[in-house]
């Protein structure tokens, strides 16, 4: 099986709809099949990565800790769109710090999140084989 470049585009906020959690599950499944997986967070999708989520008051599963597992699944390219953050009054500091561990460099921690402009992200999209939109 040849490896394909899969891009999962997240444009929805978590909890209000099921899209965010569904996307995360599909990404984890896709990664288990050893594809070259990237994720992008644009529009309300950037809200998925906000720190400090606590769902105890709304009786729903808090899946924000699961994003930290993406590194274990070798999902190491997580693009966050700058314009979407700015429009919402957010900076990277408001988001979880996601890392992956490089086995070849004695498990050195490396940043997974890449802050990109809309134009830069469009270039990244152009280089993908398959796009999944949530």
């Amino acid at each position: 099986m040849t490896t394909k470049k899969f891009m999962y585009v997240n444009r929805r906020a978590p909890y209000g709809t099921i899209y965010a959690w569904e996307a995360l599950e599909v990404v984890l499944i896709g990664a288990a099949f050893e594809q070259d997986v990237s994720m992008a967070f644009v529009d309300d999708g950037v809200f998925q990565l906000l720190k400090g989520q606590d769902t105890s008051g709304i009786d729903m599963k808090n899946f924000s800790p699961t994003y930290s597992a993406l590194g274990d699944y070798e999902v190491t390219k997580i693009y966050v769109e700058k314009e979407s953050l700015e429009e919402r009054g957010l900076t990277l500091d408001d988001l979880q710090h996601l890392v992956w561990e490089d086995e070849d460099e004695d498990w050195a921690e490396k940043d997974s999140i890449r802050l990109v402009s809309r134009a830069e992200l469009a270039e990244v999209f152009a280089g993908q084989d398959v796009m999944f939109n949530f």
């Binding site: 599950e25 984890l28 597992a69």
Partner: protein, 110 residues
């Protein structure tokens, strides 16, 4: 099929996984392994406890590949391989060990 553990009846799904992860007590693994004719050793418990910690931290049951790698890092290279893990859990470390640990079936496990 519900199972009885320490005098309590616990709901399971059609594949035998606990319906509610919060129902889990160590006795769940004892009861489930007895049904599979498997005697749990300290090595089994290392993996079961590891899975519970993983779920606590990430809110998912890891895929076998991820489990293998993570076990290798935490418990040593000699244990971080599928031969070792399948030796302990012949029905598959993902499925069987997660079931004993009270976790849902690993995401992406069919």
């Amino acid at each position: 099929m519900p199972i009885e553990v320490d005098g309590k009846v616990l709901e399971t799904d059609e594949e035998g996984y606990l319906a509610n992860i919060n129902d889990w007590v160590p006795g769940v693994a004892d009861v489930m392994s007895k049904e599979d004719d498997l005697e749990l050793t300290d090595e089994h418990w290392d993996i079961i406890n590891f899975l519970r910690e993983y779920y606590e931290e990430y809110q998912i049951a890891p895929a076998v590949r991820v489990l293998t790698k993570a076990v290798g890092k935490k418990l040593g290279k000699d244990k971080g391989n599928s031969k070792y893990l399948y030796g302990l859990f012949p029905y598959g470390p993902g499925k069987q060990a997660c079931r004993y640990a009270g976790l849902p079936k690993p995401t992406g496990c069919v």
